[in-house]
């Protein structure tokens, strides 16, 4: 079973990532498993999902907007954002939008070209699970969350920017 980093711990990955679109028949064949469907399939099959055995999440391409899931965010246990290349930063904005604007509280997972050197920024944007690229060393990667002890900006991890805390401390 694949391993990933979730909530800063290295754990087994119980989810099956379905990369290609599926129809109802294909989904039935995955019954009993926790699956992450392409956004389009998730939206198409949305009404059948409560009936299937196993949990169902959705993954978004870099060009897909999280707003399309807005009405159902309380029901989705897992949303994954895909990084086709690590230098494509759209997922960072989508993550913050999901957490800060849309109030999503489930698992937010980074998939694709996910590298240890980006974990710190990703976690501050609201990702809490990281399916790193296969060649990455998970033990070394798990240390990267500690790269910085603090940061200037407001973030999902700490909603108060430093300027609000800094003053609170000195007064």
């Amino acid at each position: 079973m694949a391993r990933l980093i979730k909530d800063r711990a290295i754990v087994d990955d119980h989810w099956v990532l379905v990369r290609e679109p599926v129809d109802g028949q294909a989904l039935r064949e995955l019954n009993g498993q926790d699956v992450i469907l392409p956004l389009q399939s998730w939206l198409e099959l949305r009404e059948d999902l409560p009936l299937r055995k196993g949990r169902t999440g959705a993954w978004l391409k870099n060009i897909e907007l999280p707003e399309s899931l807005a009405p159902w965010l309380t029901q989705i246990p897992l949303i994954a954002l895909d990084f086709p290349v690590f230098t494509d930063g759209r997922g960072y904005s989508s993550a913050r939008e999901l957490r800060q604007n849309l109030g999503y509280e489930g698992e937010l997972r980074a998939i694709g070209d996910v590298l240890c050197d980006q974990l710190f920024y990703m976690s501050r944007c609201g990702f809490n699970a990281f399916a790193l690229r296969a060649d990455q060393n998970l033990d070394a990667a798990a240390c990267r969350f500690e790269d910085f002890k603090d940061a200037y900006q407001a973030s999902v991890v700490n909603p108060l920017p430093l300027f609000r805390r800094r003053l609170g401390r000195s007064s």
């Binding site: 690590f86 904005s93 050197d117 790269d147 609000r164």
Partner: protein, 552 residues
């Protein structure tokens, strides 16, 4: 000046440890070059034609004498004894070894300096007017706002992998000296009818391949909302900016393709979600940052200095320098002095370690220990007592730092070009020198008057050639280095992009071309008109005819 507290220091030392780890992994072959690339760029490290280049940030151009001495130390110990000031108020070292860079960064951290986000597809050093806080015509000191933006942009987790680089400039003076209109975001500090402070916001300006003047997206943004509004602009750009073509990835293309009104709507929508949240700036934070930039302890001086008058009346060379390089200060008895780093035969913006230490001593002695770097690649002592000007000038002469050509034809803005840069199509430094050698008569230069010449070695436009009164762009013509001339550009209040005059010229023709252009100007000039004003009045045709002959 802004001073670090324990938070700033901690973040900087964490960053160095992080980069030390990344550099070690790269050198051991455990981190692929393509994966190290954006990491090193966001620590200022390029791999250039001859050696790596390290670009050190000088936030909004402010530099203390202690910091300048540290830069001299780095130039001596890790480089070849000199540095190069850039057109974005930074400094570059052209010869460090990759393995040394973490140590160099540790040295910089000792004096509260860094190389963070001086390159890469992220938010770069925020720039401003080099006279901020001292200028006679200031609306509001821009530096506290620049520092607030510096902290907001430093290690911003959402905007480290933008479609392309992102540059912000802030202008707080009546006469824009920061080229604010040709930045990705330009912020003009303004007051509304109620006298409240805020910003006029421009977006989508930029030079490079497709030069564009920024468009206003907000006439008045109350200062409390500065950071949430910047977040909103950046989020729209990060999500929607083009990533399919590097040359169309800047925000200016997005604004152009989206249309300014539609872009504005998207920003406002994003902003509404963030507005009045924790990003809202507080009076306390503004005052905290402002306190770092309070006036130095000026002496109560008479506006009139008999020592200065005497020197001006008896020393012609000093008077010429004073006339050109000294600007009005807000305090009586004080002046702003610019050291023009454009002596003939020296690459524009270059300074030796010996000169750095010398200038640092002068800053301590004459200008409260502080300096500024200008985007025209010069240095400023912003708070010099007028009675000391002659002594200062005498000292500058001993280090060849007294070039009296500020703002004149030989005060050339110039990128490192083909001598150093791997992007360049053509050399730029030798072109600057050939022009300086041709126009070597100070009297003639003064007569020609204010004229900006900007040279870029390629389309990326680091020499800002689009906004030079005379712009020179290096192009590749079947493997030969050629130069395209544009006229009428300006980065001032009336910002304009230059018009290309015609087919390009060979390197050796450039001094003659410049002479012909000047001759046309002199023939048509009315009164004391500046070159750019004559150009605006008479248009390109007379210049074209002088260079290429009359069209039939």
């Amino acid at each position: 000046m802004y001073r670090y507290d324990e938070y700033d220091h901690q973040m900087l030392s964490d960053r160095i440890a992080q980069f030390r780890n990344q550099t070690a992994r790269f050198l051991e072959g455990k981190l692929a070059p393509a994966e190290f690339l954006p990491l090193r760029l966001q620590n200022g490290l390029y791999v250039q034609r001859l050696a790596p280049m390290l670009r050190v940030a000088i936030p909004y151009g402010m530099l203390s004498s202690t910091q300048l001495r540290k830069l001299a130390y780095i130039a001596d110990h890790f480089d070849k004894g000199y540095g190069h000031f850039t057109t974005r108020q930074n400094i570059q070292f052209n010869w460090p070894a990759i393995a040394d860079v973490p140590d160099i960064l540790a040295h910089l951290a000792e004096v509260e300096m860094h190389a963070i986000q001086t390159s890469g597809n992220c938010i770069r050093n925020t720039t401003t007017d080099q006279f901020a806080g001292a200028a006679a015509n200031e609306i509001e000191d821009s530096r506290p706002w620049c520092e607030i933006i510096r902290q907001w942009s430093t290690f911003h987790p959402e905007f480290a992998f933008l479609p392309r680089k992102f540059k912000i400039a802030v202008c707080g003076t009546q006469d824009d000296q920061a080229a604010t209109q040709v930045h990705d975001i330009g912020l003009f500090i303004v007051r509304n009818e109620e006298g409240e402070l805020g910003f006029r916001v421009l977006a989508g300006g930029g030079l490079g391949r497709t030069p564009v003047i920024g468009k206003q997206i907000r006439a008045f943004l109350p200062w409390q909302h500065l950071l949430s509004y910047l977040d909103a602009i950046l989020r729209v750009y990060n999500r929607e900016g083009r990533r399919d073509n590097k040359y169309k990835a800047r925000i200016k293309i997005l604004v152009k393709e989206t249309g300014i009104e539609q872009f504005q709507r998207k920003v406002e929508k994003e902003w509404l979600a963030l507005k009045d949240g924790p990003l809202t700036l507080t009076e306390a934070e503004f005052q905290r940052c402002k306190a770092f930039f309070k006036d130095p302890t000026y002496l109560p001086l008479e506006p009139f200095s008999p020592e200065l008058e005497h020197a001006l009346n008896t020393d012609v060379l000093f008077a010429a320098w004073h006339n050109q390089n000294v600007d009005a200060h807000k305090m009586p008895g004080y002046s702003i002095v610019t050291l023009c780093l454009k002596a003939t035969g020296i690459a524009p913006g270059d300074i030796t370690s010996e000169q750095m230490r010398f200038v640092a001593d002068l800053a301590d002695r004459y200008s409260f220990g502080e300096l500024r770097v200008t985007h025209e690649q010069n240095l400023v002592l912003a708070d010099v007592a007028r009675k000391d000007l002659h002594a200062l000038w005498t000292a500058l002469k001993s280090q060849d730092l007294h070039a009296p050509n500020l703002g004149l034809l030989t005060d050339i803005v110039c990128c490192p070009g083909g001598d150093f840069c791997s992007l360049a199509n053509a050399k730029s430094i030798p072109i600057a020198e050939s022009i300086q050698r041709r126009f070597d008569d100070p009297e003639q230069l003064r007569k020609i008057g204010r004229l900006s010449v900007n040279i870029s070695g390629c389309m990326n436009a680091c020499g800002h050639h689009h906004v030079g009164n005379i712009g020179i762009l290096g192009v590749d013509k079947k493997g030969e280095e050629y130069y395209q001339i544009s006229l009428g550009g300006s980065a001032e209040n009336l910002t304009a992009l230059g018009d290309i005059v015609g087919p390009s010229f060979a390197q050796e023709d450039i001094p003659d071309v410049m002479e012909k252009l000047i001759r046309v100007f002199e023939e048509h000039r009315e009164h004391e008109e500046r070159f750019v004003d004559t150009y605006r009045r008479i248009g390109i045709t007379p210049f074209k005819e002088a260079l290429y002959g009359k069209a039939d």
